[in-house]
Amino acid sequence: MSMMLMIHPDKCTGCRNCELACSMEHEGNFRPKASRIHVYTWEREGFSVPMMCQQCKDAACVTVCMPRAMHRNPANGQVELDADKCIGCKMCVQACPFGCASWDFQGLQILKCDTCDGSPSCAAICPTHALEWVEDTISAQARKRSFAAKLKNAFAEV
């Protein structure tokens, strides 16, 4: 069993505190462009969705990384980057279907969520718990249950 970052866009207010916390954790300053998480907001509808690496099991970034800088840590199941091995070829950037590996042209580094070594700063700061660090199996069950509750309400009405 491993941990995962659950995203609840319905609770997200679009405040971007998560971006700031991520930048502070990794860069020691506030630079959202260097954050490993980004929040997308649709202003007309007032809807926001935070996005970060989902630590895929079959990770495209790992597959394409020739020097094996991007690799899976068997201990915790996370996809990790060994910055010393990285040659900056940006193949992972091209490979990630979610756009969650990116190239920081100022820091000359790959930006990818490292779960803050198992203690995510973004989830800690999120004021509405739109980000949660939970056991992967339990988390899915919780979401299933909450969706089932919505269905129950819908059916109860007819």
Partner: protein, 601 residues
């Protein structure tokens, strides 16, 4: 520098000259940023007698040192200029993500001078600054402009722009950023329009740095906890937004009704925050770095008033609701959406429609004047149409676009305009709540609640309870709140953080962030410095103590019904006390001693 970027971008729209200059550290320390620093630059560079809509007026977009950090709810910026509505120094403050982006692009402030020959917009990407043609955007509303600009610049660029109201130089036009947030008050949108400037588009890749990281993280954690544990800052505002105040103010008899003819409205609950939460609310929204989330993403499905967007704030719901004798929340929301789309200040718009309704009700204006609009109290459809026409500058809307003071004066009845220094007062009746009346009368930008929010102690009991009906201690209270607010506005913080933290916490945040040592006292003193500088500007622009007053109605006509029945404002008794507390002479002029104590002499 830490907190501040240390650099100012200056653009002369007339000549197209773009330059940058260093921010002086002592000025930053003493005037902090945003409202304070912007005012200092206006004071040093612009003649207070300037015509607000002439090229000689400047338009300053100023962030604060906390803007762009994760200090709780501190992502704001101010638009500082001479306001065409009031003729005062203007600083209109807005949240969203535009202010932080300006800093990431590498600037604390953007100073705009002159006037472009034809419509333009600015495209600022870090060091790269372009003045681009905006002919294709002129006439577009705010959402259309925002989407068009995101498409032709960058999807993640942040946009501040005007809508048709600003283009038409409406005295109540706002500058809108991030589509839904407004620098609303004093008509700053018209200044932008007068410069032929449709939008400022910014994308930044840089950083805001911190002087003492560990101390700053500790100060942020402490401040956040205090706000989260506060019943208003922590949960109240997220659940119901600012509009939770409708029922609270109504219950104390301080909800101005029918253009301030009364202080109580029997069906107020129908436009309150609780009703909104049960019906039109989609979800709470937060500005950049906000932990409070008072923003309301709302949607109206009623075909008559269909729309979606952000709002309403309490003042908006009140202005289009009880102040117009309207209790149809869908109509209120539609009026709010129009304001956001066309770029109008909702408070001044609401107050102006209410004033027009009283003029109509009394027969001062007729259907002929309104071009067929039955603009009487209670007519929700006419109210919404009046807002639309104002936004587009059509029909009777052209007169409404002047604001209520100029409108009522046109028809010979300035006393029916519920304004201070020509700006519409917000949703708290000065007869029912004595301190707020003193704040309105003495406010440096006219009728305004957010720069001396004495409602907090007088009505909400935060951070301590004060009798709303007494005048004892109100001069001290109002001056203190005005000073504290001037300082916190200048940091880039949101006023609502004071539902949780005060001067000592701001001082800790500022000290650890910037490396300059602030104490609670020196922080409030910086606010007092800003307040006095604003006062000096206003005096130089021709205002006098005679302008520190309220509409005669509030001094003479008692509230008719509700919990504050019989009350009038006792401003004439409070004003001399206030001048005394301020260290000003009997004419409201700061004394030499006061000015030198604040290093303003």
């Amino acid at each position: 520098m830490h907190g501040w970027i240390g650099r100012i971008l200056r653009i002369d729209l007339g000549t197209g000259k773009v330059s940058t200059e260093a921010l002086k550290p002592e000025l930053a320390r003493d005037y902090i940023g945003a409202r304070g620093l912007g005012t200092k630059y206006m004071y040093d560079e612009v003649d207070p007698m300037v015509d607000p809509l002439s090229p000689a007026n400047k338009l300053i977009f100023a962030s604060g040192p906390m803007t762009g950090t994760f200090a709780p709810s501190a992502g704001r910026y101010d638009v500082v200029t001479k306001g065409p509505l009031t003729g005062t120094i203007a600083a209109s403050n807005s949240g969203g993500a535009w202010g932080p982006e300006l800093k990431y692009a590498g600037y604390d402030m953007l100073i705009l001078e002159g006037r472009a020959e034809k419509p333009v917009y600015l495209w600022i990407q870090d060091e790269k600054v372009e003045i681009r043609d905006a002919a294709h955007l002129w006439g577009k509303d705010v959402p259309e402009t925002t989407e068009a600009l995101n498409a032709e610049t960058a999807a993640d660029a942040k946009i501040a722009c005007i809508g048709p109201a600003g283009e038409n130089l409406s005295f109540i036009a706002a500058i809108m950023n991030d589509m839904q947030r407004a620098a609303g008050r004093t008509g700053v949108g018209a200044v932008m329009g007068s410069k032929n400037l449709k939008a400022v588009v910014v994308r930044g890749t840089g950083a805001v740095t911190v002087a003492d990281k560990d101390a700053f993280l500790a100060a942020v954690a402490k401040a956040s906890t205090m706000i989260k544990e506060h019943p208003v800052g922590g949960t109240g505002l997220r659940l119901y937004g600012t509009n939770v105040l409708v029922n609270i103010l109504n219950s104390v008899g301080g909800l101005p009704t029918a253009n301030f003819q009364d202080g109580h409205y029997p069906t107020a609950d129908k436009v309150g925050g609780e009703t909104l939460a049960a019906n039109q609310l989609q979800r709470p929204k937060g500005c950049f770095s906000c932990i409070i989330s008072c923003g309301r993403a709302t949607k109206v499905t009623n075909p008559k008033y269909k729309g979606e967007g952000e709002g309403p704030e309490y003042e908006t719901a009140w202005g289009f609701g009880p102040d117009c004798l309207i209790d149809d929340l869908d109509a209120v929301l539609k009026a709010n959406y129009y304001c956001n789309e066309y770029g109008i200040d909702t408070i001044s718009m609401g107050g102006t429609v209410a004033c027009a309704m009283e003029l109509f009700h009394r027969g001062v204006i007729t259907l002929e004047d309104t071009e067929g609009l039955e603009l009487d109290f209670g007519n929700a459809e006419a109210m919404v149409e009046a807002v639309r026409l104002t936004g587009l500058g059509q029909g009777f809307g052209r007169k409404l676009a002047l604001g209520s003071y100029r409108l009522a004066s046109l028809y010979g009845h300035p006393e029916l305009s519920m304004t201070v220094k020509k700006q519409e007062m917000p949703a708290y009746d000065p007869r029912a709540v004595q301190g707020i009346g003193l704040n309105y009368a003495t406010n440096n930008r006219g009728g305004c609640h957010v720069r001396g929010y004495s409602i907090s102690p007088e009505v909400l009991g935060v951070p301590f309870k004060v009798d709303k009906d007494t005048i004892d201690g109100k001069a001290e209270l109002v001056a203190l709140f005005q000073n504290l607010t001037a300082a916190l506005d200048s940091t880039g913080s949101c006023l609502f953080t004071t539902f949780g933290i005060g001067a000592p916490e701001f001082a800790e945040l500022m000290t650890s962030l910037t490396g300059f040592a602030y104490t609670g006292e020196s922080f409030v003193e910086a606010g007092e410095r800003v307040w006095n500088l604003e006062r000096l500007w206003n005096l130089k622009s021709g205002l006098t103590a005679a302008d520190d007053t309220l509409p005669p109605r509030l001094l003479k006509e008692p509230i008719v019904t509700g919990a504050s029945k019989g009350a009038v404002s006792r401003l004439p008794e409070m004003l001399p006390l206030y001048y005394g507390v301020r260290g000003w002479d009997a004419d409201g002029v700061p004394t030499k001693e006061k000015l030198s104590a604040l290093a303003l002499a």
